[in-house]
């Protein structure tokens, strides 16, 4: 699964720590998710979509191999 978190953060000029504060997780958790090491739960993905103001399927997309 790929994600556009870094792009969305850049649009808002947010650091990983800023995003982490907004959705109530650790900065390290954002790093794990952003680098594709960890796939978040539906609830966390929806929280991210809400703070970015973007549909969740734009932030998280399945790859051909998924």
């Amino acid at each position: 699964m790929k994600n556009t978190i870094k792009v969305e953060r850049a649009k808002k000029n947010w650091t990983q720590a800023d995003l982490a504060d907004k959705i109530g997780v650790s900065r390290q958790a954002i790093n794990s998710i952003e680098t594709g090491k960890f796939i978040p739960s539906t609830a966390l993905a929806l929280k991210m979509a809400r703070v970015f103001g973007t549909p969740v399927e734009i932030i998280f997309q399945l790859e051909k191999s998924d």
């Binding site: 990983q16 650790s26 958790a29 680098t35």
Partner: protein
């Protein structure tokens, strides 16, 4: 990490240290001092109490972890449990063949291995999830 999370995390660490110190202290006292049986039993139970408090605080701490932290802890415990089981199985079988010296391989000597296995598990899992990566642009 917000203040309350950091505070709880610090408290869990303090209770972990308390358990290690009480276990080490009891171990040294029981090994080196000549004590009455009742005093020895009481001394043996002190680390049980400190461990119970530490585990309770650790368990409470899980509820304020985020999902990545929970998964890392779960994997660390699974790795520690698996290594621990492997060690007990191996020592148990070897004991039948070699009659291992209980002064080297008694129950009390196995406790630190479980802690080491947990720390190894934690390091493996953190690395797997890129958890300690410093980059945060």
């Amino acid at each position: 990490m917000n203040k309350s999370k950091k505070h709880l995390s610090n408290r869990v660490f303090v209770y972990a240290v308390l358990w290690v110190v009480s276990y080490g202290g009891s171990l040294l006292a029981l090994k080196n001092l000549t004590l009455e049986k009742e005093v020895g039993i009481v001394l043996s139970m002190i680390p049980v109490l400190t461990f119970a408090v530490f585990i309770y605080k650790f368990y409470r701490g899980i509820f304020i972890m985020d999902e990545v932290q929970i998964k890392i802890q779960m994997e660390a415990v699974v790795i520690a449990f698996t290594f621990g089981l492997l060690m007990l199985m191996t020592l148990g079988l070897l004991d039948l063949v070699l009659a291992l010296n209980k002064e080297d391989w008694g129950y009390r000597h196995l406790v630190p291995y479980f802690v080491i296995f947990y720390i190894i598990g934690l390091l493996i899992s953190k690395r797997k999830y890129n958890f300690d990566h410093e980059k945060h642009d």
